[in-house]
């Protein structure tokens, strides 16, 4: 069933990645080995990665969204957002944790990255929670980790751009489809927080007087306006999602530089270098995944899987649940980028065969992968929070469990009821 060259390729890939070699370079090496054993031109590795990156207009959104997120993490943009959220939900039990979740929700409408949310504004809210003395470090870290998973579900979203690339679905509809699930996750997590706050008697913040609300809102207005600009740009048909990414970055820069005067030339240079580094890192993973996908496709693996699953006469729902379990398990071990670019393409033909809507499948799988960011042992958000705040990973993991259960319950709802995902895109003319 698996040919010798492909077997060698898989062994090289898992062997190298397993001992800690960079995943992107492991894929290059495994692909080159495959081409040699197969007797093909080893130059195909260069060809596939160059052409894949050079031909994809869609992928240009990735570096632009990274720039936008990094600019917003500079300076006072996040401060104003925090003041606003504190005025709105600080008055409830577990006030600061609720503030963090609301901030994550709004921030997710501006940045497409969970890691950027946790490392930027999440770091600030953790410090606020710790200073108040009502939150254990583990709980503070857990709230921030869990709420950061909303980031790539509400548009914009870098993982969804990658999914659109491998599945050939419309990024515009994917973005729309993420909104209701993102709100669902927010509500569920706020509920869990209220429950924990009651049990541990975590108080509310001193409420901001209602008459100050307009002022606080006004100060945060330019920031709150950003998601509106993005979404109106895309769905008003004015700009493509890629162009919206550039507009978002420009708007963030304009705010930071002119309006709030919080970015210096030096700061801008640092933002660009950091963004360039992140872009190169993810670009290389994408480039290498494209070679690997070329090999997987030429070995006809996705169709083999589809055929094999067709024989088992799995119902679409059973397949969705099965795929969810597989990806949740893989999410404990692999990073989301690798799962989306390398594993999900294996499932796409089966989805087509079973008549599963690819936008629905994409959103469910991206949510699933984001849950994977907080599941140990390999959870990127756990690492980031540990690295930026020094809170022990095992403390975060213990406290994150209720949130994990809640997120998996939300995932189940989205899986069982496709309307939760597809309702909004259908309102905007999606024919799926």
């Amino acid at each position: 069933m698996i040919s010798l060259p492909f077997g060698a390729c898989l062994i090289a890939l898992f062997g190298l990645a397993g001992i800690g070699a960079p995943i992107a370079l492991s894929m290059f090496v495994a692909a080159i080995l495959y081409l040699f054993v197969k007797g093909h031109d080893p130059g195909l590795a260069a060809e596939q990665s160059i052409q894949g990156l050079y031909d994809s207009f869609l992928l240009l959104a990735v570096p632009l969204f990274i720039v936008a997120a990094n600019i917003m993490n500079q300076g006072t943009i996040s401060d104003r957002l925090l003041d606003f959220c504190k005025a709105v939900v600080g008055r409830f039990r577990g006030g600061l944790a609720q503030v963090d979740i609301l901030v994550s929700l709004i921030f997710s409408g501006m940045s497409g990255s969970a890691v950027a949310d946790a490392a930027g504004v999440g770091k600030i809210t953790i410090n606020m929670m710790l200073r108040s003395g009502h939150y254990s470090p583990g709980l503070a870290g857990a709230v921030v980790a869990a709420s950061a998973t909303i980031g790539p579900i509400i548009p914009p979203s870098i993982p969804m751009v990658m999914y659109a690339l491998i599945s050939d679905t419309s990024i515009g509809y994917l973005f729309l489809a993420g909104i209701v699930p993102g709100l669902l996750m927010t509500v569920v997590m706020m509920g869990i927080t209220t429950w924990i706050a009651h049990r541990r008697d975590i108080p509310a913040e001193v409420p901001v007087p209602v008459r100050e609300l307009p002022k606080v809102t006004f100060r945060a207005l330019p920031v709150l306006f950003m998601p509106v600009i993005l979404l109106a740009g895309i769905y008003g048909g004015a700009t493509t999602p890629t162009e919206a990414a550039a507009v978002a970055a420009a708007y963030a820069l304009l705010l930071a530089a002119l309006f709030y005067r919080s970015v210096s030339w030096r700061g801008l240079h640092a933002v660009l270098v950091d963004s360039a580094r992140s872009s190169a890192s993810v670009g290389l993973v994408i480039g290498s995944a494209l070679i690997f996908n070329y090999i997987v496709a030429s070995e006809n693996i996705p169709n083999l899987i589809a055929g094999w699953l067709a024989q088992t006469e799995l119902s679409p729902l059973a397949f969705l649940l099965f795929a969810n379990i597989i990806i949740l398990l893989l999410g404990c071990l692999l990073d989301a980028t690798t799962i989306i670019l390398v594993i999900l393409p294996l499932f796409i033909p089966t989805c087509r065969e079973l008549g599963i809507d690819l936008v629905h499948f994409g959103v469910v799988m991206v949510v699933n992968c984001m849950i994977g960011l907080i599941t140990p042992p390999y959870g990127m958000l756990l690492f980031v929070i540990n690295a930026t705040t020094g809170i022990a990973i095992k403390d975060i993991v213990r406290e994150v469990m209720p949130y994990l259960v809640a997120l998996i319950a939300s995932l189940l709802i989205m899986t069982l009821f496709p309307e939760t995902v597809l309702w909004l895109p259908r309102m905007f003319g999606y024919q799926g």
Partner: protein, 169 residues
């Protein structure tokens, strides 16, 4: 890092930051000309795609250290220093061998494109694609050096402050 290497590294970072900045500005020009003055330019898209290609491979060649890459390093860090040295050496040699073995074919692929020009700017495509060659040679050099250092007894993960986490997920 030695001062000279560090200086080169800073300049490589400047180049990467410049590529990203120009790409960003070109995009804004594209949006402005298309939507504001209704006079779309043909060359902006190609500039962006070319800069993106260069950003990825230039960055991967010169500003990403071994530790900046996305990795699955659970087993690696569970191992003793002695075992880690061996794993790091296997990694370095495998990457070196793979890229070295593909280098002649890669060279052929890139130089083949001297006969073709890009769609709107009419730049020779072997020049556009040459950045992959730069990347391949840089990877070969970097991992040859790493293998050599590990053989001479260097610490497998003697690194300075790690960079910020990669913010893409």
């Amino acid at each position: 890092m030695k001062p000279a290497t560090l200086w080169l590294r800073r300049r490589a970072e400047d180049v990467a930051a410049g590529l990203l900045a120009v790409m960003f500005l070109t995009f804004l020009v594209q949006i402005f000309t298309r939507y504001v003055i209704n006079y779309p330019l043909a060359w902006t898209l190609e500039v962006c795609l070319t800069l993106w290609l260069w950003l990825v491979f230039w960055g991967a060649a010169f500003i990403l250290d071994d530790r900046d890459h996305v990795k699955f390093d659970m087993f690696y860090f569970a191992a003793s220093t002695r075992v880690r040295r061996i794993l790091a050496l296997v990694t370095a040699v495998a990457i070196l061998a793979g890229f070295l073995a593909a280098l002649p074919a890669t060279w052929d692929y890139i130089t083949f494109y001297k006969i073709k020009k890009s769609a709107t700017l009419r730049i020779r495509l072997d020049i556009v694609f040459s950045v992959y060659g730069i990347f391949a040679v840089a990877i070969i050099t970097r991992y040859a050096l790493r293998a050599w250092q590990l053989l001479r007894g260097a610490e497998p993960d003697a690194v300075a402050q790690p960079h910020e986490q990669v913010a893409v997920e």
